[in-house]
Amino acid sequence: MDTLGYMFIFVGMGSFLISAVGLVRMPDVYTRMHVGTKATTMGTLLVLLGAMCIEPTWAMKLILLAIFILLTNPLSSSVIARATHADGKTLKYDELK
């Protein structure tokens, strides 16, 4: 069970690393937000799942933390995207224009 937990945490760390590299490489605020929210949500949930596999007695607190992350992370990203759009930023490569 410990090995499964470590594997989950390792995959979560890979997701975090992909998110960080994408945050540097992407050309635009909106694309950076896209990378920075989805990949980190998945990474955090995988880390919490791995911790739940390693220490099963902490399951209640970890589930609470997972629900909290799952509720607030898209919300804060949506608030930042709305504010950026109201500030007048546009996409750098707009395919629909």
Partner: protein
């Protein structure tokens, strides 16, 4: 094993910190701040596993709450000003 995982996480945080310091606009910095908060929550979970104390999970919950409030307040500041 924990050393390897923690060093991977700290590498990601350093790459994100580069965007936080360099980012051309305020919105870039706020996005990097949000990502740093989420990574800090997982770092606290890893610390709780390393020291085998469940007290760090409460700290992670409060840290996530404060970070969410910070991102939301910065978004409101970008949109409407003070």
């Amino acid at each position: 094993m924990f050393e390897l995982l923690t060093s991977l996480l700290i590498l990601s945080m350093l790459i994100t910190l580069y965007r936080f310091l360099k980012g051309p606009t305020l919105a870039d910095r706020v996005v990097a701040f949000d990502v740093l908060n989420i990574m800090g929550v997982s770092l606290l979970v890893l610390l709780a596993l390393y020291y085998e104390r469940s007290l760090y999970l409460d700290i992670a919950l409060v840290f996530g709450l404060i970070g969410f409030l910070g991102s939301t307040i910065f978004g409101r500041y970008i949109e409407k000003g003070i």
